[in-house]
Symmetry: C2
Subunit: 399 residues, 2 copies
């Protein structure tokens, strides 16, 4: 078993949804003990889609390797437990609306007093300051706000939203990008810090090169290649990308369209951009004449960039995906085998227990309370008062 | 000045394009000394779009904070220099086609012999093993391969490719996610490792929850909210997201469409999904009657999730973006002021010199050679033999 980079690091994680949980999961998978503090009704991210008990695909995907305790943060018991946990945490993460955690008494300024080396990370939609800071938001609205929907616009110019919570997932990666070095600084230099991460900033950083290009080109970013896009074939779609200039001629010769390969209007990059309609029309005429696989057999050996447009079933069943172990199939709680995409730099999920299980609401509460030296009687009393929610009996039975 | 997490860490970076350079830039911005080894003609990522000398927006965006040396890896001088650099590097990164770096004599197995604690990271399209491993690829083809284009499909079902090199940028984040903990392990435990990062794996990890959801739902992932999407207004587009059930009624009451709010066919989530066409038709009729700003003034105070669909100009000029310093404007080499999106967890670009400059081809070659104890005469001889490319005179003059 490889030693985890963050072995021995304790993370107190109040975040809900996807962005924060994604970041804290990566800490957990690299060895940290991530204690997920949930409200008694559970993280709202547990209901992003079809439910399987108290989970959905998103909550499983982004909460593996953690332990959960469900606390009512307005109850004296809940507050007492958080105080004990916060005093010993190396990292604290929260995603309440800006200002809320301070009113609960667990803001950065509060915790720094009892825990001066703490790495404290807030994750929000628009950041902790500025006129929009308290505005509620969700992934799709930041796709709109950040320019991403215009960047992703359809051929007729209509702004288009990606069919996944792309900004949330990306914010998880940028937040991990902030946290991992902060923990390294804590370790090397004994320094804590405050991190103000947000969907807005992560979306902008993700599109950083596009923002520069937009300004370079005064709002008219150049088309890089023509053609580059997906075209209908006899049985699906093929993606074509004529990246190098010689690919253009080669592609049209290989598909039997010498008229286009030799068209005097299409012999330079600029001309191909200007007369793109001609190119697209020819591909729409010719590509449906063979299957995707037939085209790939013609184009691929000549190094013309092309790829079958796969859906997730195609991807999961692809021989290369299978041969390389890019995806492992994991069983959790009788939900059936679920695909787990293996993350670069981590052991395979099938060989790494933390990747195989996301906790139920409050599942680890009693054990976490015992570690805080609460007696069995104390714990029973807290559970019965309701400030700490007891794990569901079904969960206990499955233990 | 904050101490960098990776201060004192030396990175030998052979990667080109976007994915590898993005990851190594994040190491540089967190303090590492990243030595970018380029071929004499420069990283091909310098030509991804409109040229500004030997740069484009992408090469500036993803190569800040590094130093560059341009070497001919087939020349004896180039090989001798790499040998010296490799012996002292803490991290080595490469993105050649699998197998190439081994033939050059700088594969993981070679370097481990002279540098047993090295963290070695290969970045490729399809990974180092499996039937597709040597297949050349680019961002758009992995969007096709990974299912991303189907996930991002247009309303008529046509697979749609994002208008940016989304997988490359994401692979940079996942690769940093692998490298930062690997450096932490090297530091804590004296352990090196090999990381096989790829566009294919990063794309799958990014879509990990969607893959699970696809399998959960047998290929029919549920629609989360209806409506959720962008609609034309009198002067642009507005993004609407009726996340909570009560938002549906509120939205249609506020826009004066009680007929829809009260429609018996639309009173449950399932019914709204089933009769989505009715909802979309009503929004297409009504939303063009006012401007985006007028609608937001009506909807926002009642907490109906809505946002203006911005392009990058709107984003850069937005009062909240300006008030929070989400973007700084940086000058490089007379290219004019360029927007730099401030990355969570890093100092602001305007206060952090490494974020303000990406090197020209081979710009730091002579200084890097001096640090390796080559004499002035040796350096001149190497430059004149051409194994090390001299920095362009214009660049020297600008120093």
């Amino acid at each position: 078993m490889v030693k985890g980079a963050f072995d021995g690091v304790t993370v107190l994680d109040f975040t809900q949804g996807v962005a924060g949980p994604h970041a804290s999961m990566l800490l957990a998978l690299h060895g940290a003990d991530v204690i997920k503090i949930e409200p008694p009704e559970g993280d709202w991210g547990r209901a992003l889609g079809e439910l399987k008990g108290d989970h959905c695909a998103h909550s499983i995907a982004f909460n593996r390797g953690k332990r959960s305790i469900a606390l009512d943060l307005k109850s004296p018991d809940g507050i007492a437990v958080v105080k004990k946990l916060a005093a010993k945490a190396d990292v604290v993460m929260e995603s309440f609306r800006p200002g809320v955690i301070g009113r609960l008494g667990f803001g950065y300024e509060d915790l720094k007093k009892i825990n001066p080396k703490v790495v404290y990370c807030s994750i929000s939609g628009f950041g902790q300051t500025g006129p929009y800071s308290k505005r509620p938001t969700v992934d799709g609205l930041i796709q709109a706000f950040s320019g991403m929907m215009v960047m992703n616009k359809m051929p007729d110019g209509t702004p288009w939203r990606q069919g996944m919570i792309a900004v949330d997932v990306t914010t998880g990666l940028y937040t991990f990008q902030a946290l991992a070095p902060a923990i390294m600084r804590q370790f090397r230099f004994g320094e804590g810090c405050y991190i103000d991460s947000s969907l807005m900033r992560a979306a902008a950083a993700y599109q950083g090169a596009k923002l520069m290009e937009w300004v370079f080109s005064k709002g008219n970013p150049p088309v890089l290649y023509m053609p580059a896009g997906s075209y209908k074939t006899a049985n699906g779609y093929i993606m074509l990308s004529a990246m190098r200039p010689h690919h253009f001629r080669l592609l049209f010769e290989l598909i039997g369209r010498e008229d286009i390969a030799n068209d005097p209007d299409l012999q330079s990059h600029d001309n191909r951009i200007r007369n793109a309609a001609k190119i697209i029309k020819a591909l729409n005429e010719t590509m449906p004449q063979k299957t995707t696989e037939e085209w790939i057999e013609i184009l691929q050996p000549k190094d013309v960039f092309c790829e079958r447009v796969n859906n997730y079933t195609d991807y999961l069943q692809h021989p290369h995906v299978k041969a390389t172990g890019a995806v492992d199939w994991i069983e959790q709680d009788g939900m059936g085998a679920l695909p787990v995409a293996n993350i670069p730099g981590l052991p395979r999920a099938s060989e790494h227990p933390p990747q195989q299980y996301a906790p139920h609401i409050g599942e680890n509460g009693p054990e976490i309370l015992r570690e805080l030296s609460y007696s069995a009687a104390d714990i029973d009393a807290m559970l019965s008062r309701g400030g700490v929610r007891a794990p569901a009996p079904a969960v206990k039975a499955a233990d």
